[in-house]
Amino acid sequence: MELIKGITINHYLVFSAILFGMGALGILYRRNAIIMFMCLELMLNAVNVALVAFSKLWGQADAQVFVFFIMVVAAAEVAVGLAILMMLYRNLKTTDTDMLNNLKF
């Protein structure tokens, strides 16, 4: 149960849950699309911490490979997402998600 002396898997999972909740709070709280992107990164990293803790718990390296793939997807997503934000800002002069309501019914 103890991953390192005195620290159990529960400690890591609670830490991961707190980081994930912080990311969700940031996405709900802020309206700037760039800050929301950063909170998304925070949530992905919370999941990564939980995966690495489980990898240590079971002594398996597979979970760490999963973390690699999450990093790959995060990097690709950030590249495309920031390009979309650049284009939005060029056309609409804002990154405020409340202003970006052209698709609203």
Binding site: V14, F20, M22, Y29, I34, F68
Partner: protein
């Protein structure tokens, strides 16, 4: 004992960095505090014997992704946001919803009986090293690894296409 203290300090740094990221008015401060958070998470990876992952994390996140964020913020000249217009009730709703989500996740972790009975498999310290991870990555996960490179090419093409001049994109 030493690693226990390191765990608490790194966790505290990560959480404070995350809070500054969310509540800072200046997006540049948000980016910088998120970099601090990522360094703390890399420290967690070191504690968990995932050395290669820690180095890759620092290189990819602090070195590439956050620099990309900084570039975009500086190019758009967004160093001061008019985020004040959000109503108090909207902020309160966001804080309540985020807090409830956090509490539910923590409660789920705390009340899972299976976790309490688990025995950690004694793993060798070499598990997170490049040699071991490379063997796993190039044997079991070879096809997903190649797919990841296809995904990267698609993302690169998409980013270049999207960030071209406006007329070139709109013109059919």
């Amino acid at each position: 004992m030493l690693s226990e203290i390191a765990f608490w300090i790194l966790s505290a740094i990560a959480m404070v960095g995350g809070l500054i990221t969310i509540f800072s008015r200046n997006p540049v401060y948000s980016v910088l505090s998120l970099i601090v958070t990522f360094f703390a998470i890399a420290g967690h990876y070191f504690l968990l014997n995932a050395q290669l992952l820690a180095m890759v994390h620092i290189m990819v996140y602090a070195g590439a992704i956050m620099v990309l964020f900084l570039y975009v913020i500086m190019m758009l000249n967004l160093n001061r946001l008019d985020d004040h217009k959000k109503t108090f009730s909207a902020k309160l709703t966001a804080v309540i919803a985020g807090g409830v989500l956090m509490l539910v996740l923590i409660a789920v972790v705390q009340r899972t009986d299976e976790l309490a009975g688990m025995q950690a498999v004694p793993s060798t310290n070499a598990m997170g090293l490049t040699k071991n991870l490379g063997k796993v990555l190039y044997n079991e996960f070879l096809v997903p690894f190649e797919m990841a490179s296809v995904l990267f090419i698609a993302a690169m093409v998409g980013a270049v296409y999207l960030s071209k001049k406006e007329e070139a994109v709109v013109k059919k």
